[in-house]
């Protein structure tokens, strides 16, 4: 009998050890991970400051440090959220929701918070503390923008001369007669371009503007989600989402591999009247050339010198959802005036593995990218390999700089808000 007790004791001690091992911090997903699960350059740290409310798209931070983000899904009827941090420990205790519309765009300029739905742009006056004075009664600045669901988000940026820029994405992949259909030819001239597939400029302080009041600032941009005003060059920079489905629709010219690697995701510096060439061309990052799209007679080999050149090109389909020039003093000198880009992560690389799901840094000098881009923050997806986009735990979508120079990153899968800081 005694033997049995000993055995029992032994077994229970053994299972306790196994149990304990299984719940060590490394294996337990419920315990906080170092740097909120992100990999960062030396000297940088990350924490999660909020989690779980809505699908956090773009984010804006006032000079006073109040933080707002736009959600693409309503939570209790609200689509804009302000982080509330009563004890001042830098981590939100709760969120304050307002704005009864979904959307992506949000920005702060000259004492106003601007936010977009997928058809309109509103603004809210901020008080001296950076809080919204009248959350339920915004001013409607822009109305009646096209939303045909595909590429529907209306990202916004403001310059220093009282203008607001809105992306109106093309409701089409490549302006085919039948969208995304095998061998369907392109429409020339592309009728989408009169009211979408470009950037429009409006006044930041005039009510109820629509197409007739705005300036068709730049055309031939399929869909821009990330854009930012560069205060050094005084110009607008945008990141285009390049076209999809070269192999699906034109298998005789593109195999699955080339379709996964074409076309580049491009950064453009825009001036009024620019044309970046969508849908007629796409950019080949290996050949560094603007190629004629197959819908318009191209065969993967014919190039053209027409249209704007990108200032820098990135791998295909990574989905650049935010662009932000860093003007803070907290990060090391090399980051000053350079660009951060949040790559939401791909879907159109299948059957090859997906890529992206990271924040990139592009060094700039005198308003031009210098040298190579590098991955700045990685690990959002929580997986080594993503075969199917839904496997990503988090997808970076928005970027904002806080008054102290730290960088905030949003995630629209779980509504996580990350804060990245640097200490010498």
């Amino acid at each position: 009998m005694r033997k049995y007790y000993l055995l029992l004791l032994f077994v229970s001690i053994y299972s306790c050890t196994v149990f304990a091992n299984n719940h060590s911090p490394k294996n337990n997903p419920n315990l906080p991970q170092a740097n909120a699960g992100l990999q960062l350059p030396a000297g940088f740290t990350a924490i999660t400051v909020a989690e779980g409310v809505g699908r956090a798209r773009h984010i804006a931070i006032s000079p006073q440090g109040t933080i707002f983000y736009k959600s693409s899904r309503l939570v209790n009827g609200k689509g804009i959220f302000q982080l509330i941090d009563k004890n001042g420990d830098g981590i939100a205790d709760s969120v304050f929701g307002f704005g009864n519309y979904i959307g992506t765009g949000i920005a702060i300029k000259n004492g106003y918070l601007y936010a977009s739905s997928d058809e309109e742009v509103f603004r809210y006056k901020l008080d001296a503390k950076g809080n919204v004075i009248n959350p339920s009664q915004p001013e409607k600045i822009i109305t009646g923008l096209i939303n045909r669901h595909q590429h529907e988000s209306k990202s916004i940026a403001l310059d220093n001369a009282g203008n607001l820029y809105v992306n109106i994405g093309a409701y089409s992949n490549s302006c085919q007669v039948n969208d995304r259909t095998l061998h369907s030819p392109g429409r020339k001239p592309c009728p989408v371009l009169d009211s979408a597939g470009g950037i429009w400029q409006f006044k930041a302080d005039k009510l109820n503007q629509t197409y007739g009041n705005g300036i068709h600032y730049a055309m031939g941009l399929r869909n821009v989600v990330g854009l930012d005003w560069n205060n050094q060059t005084n110009t607008l920079f945008v990141m285009q989402h390049g076209r999809d489905q070269l192999h699906d629709n034109w298998p005789e010219y593109f195999d699955e591999k080339s379709s996964a690697e074409l076309p580049a995701e491009c950064m453009y510096e825009l001036h009024k009247g620019d044309n970046c060439g969508w849908p007629y061309i796409y950019y080949d990052p290996m050949q560094h050339k603007k190629m004629i799209a197959p819908e318009f007679g191209g065969d993967g080999k014919q190039s053209t010198t027409d249209y704007n050149n990108p200032v820098i090109a990135f791998p295909a389909h990574l989905a650049p959802n935010a662009l932000m020039f860093y003007t803070g003093n907290q990060f090391p000198e090399k980051y000053k005036n350079g660009a951060f880009i949040a790559f939401h992560g791909s879907w159109n690389r299948a059957p090859l593995p997906q890529q992206g799901y990271y924040v990139v840094f592009v060094p700039f000098k005198n308003g031009k990218p210098t040298g190579k881009w590098e991955i700045f923050a990685n690990g959002f997806s929580g997986k080594d390999v993503i075969e199917s986009t839904r496997q990503a735990d988090h997808r970076p979508c928005g970027l904002a700089q806080a008054p102290d120079g730290s960088l905030y990153v949003t995630d629209d899968v779980k509504g996580t808000i990350y804060k990245i800081s640097y200490k010498k």
Binding site: S184, W347, S388
Partner: protein, 137 residues
């Protein structure tokens, strides 16, 4: 008595043969359907049928996929741009018509998706596809 047993056994054997023949046909249809899926549908609906959040709906755990067969046959033939809620979510992409696929290819691919990614539902037959295709005209 012996006669009865022999008849009983042979009927049983025939029934098993018919059933397994059907089962073989179903597996063959699923195998062909997988090839159609990989070529035509995978790029949007993904290798695991998970779709792409907010862009392309999942076929895994989709009430559409395991629901009314006529409806999904029509979706493959005519495409889908309805933007209606699919299991409480909205998707922004356009699905193109795939009426260039043969009746058999459509039956196969739908039989495949109805029996993959955790789905379990009855087969889609060529005859059922024919009916929906003729309604379109």
């Amino acid at each position: 008595m012996i006669k009865k047993i022999v008849t009983g056994v042979s009927i049983l054997a025939m029934a098993i043969m018919v059933l397994s023949f059907n089962q073989n046909q179903v597996s063959a249809s699923i195998a062909r359907g997988k090839q159609v899926y990989n070529k035509v549908c995978l790029s949007c609906h993904m290798i695991d049928g998970g779709g792409v959040p907010n862009i392309n709906p999942p076929l895994a755990q989709s009430s559409y996929v395991v629901g009314d067969k006529k409806r999904i046959i029509a979706i493959v033939l005519n495409g889908m741009t309805d933007r209606i809620a699919i299991d409480d979510e909205y998707y922004s992409n356009n699905m193109a018509p795939h009426s260039d696929l043969t009746d058999e290819e459509i039956a196969d691919v739908l039989t495949y998706v109805r029996n993959s990614f955790g789905n379990k539902a009855s087969v889609v037959t060529v005859a059922e596809v024919k009916v929906v295709r003729s309604m379109k005209k």
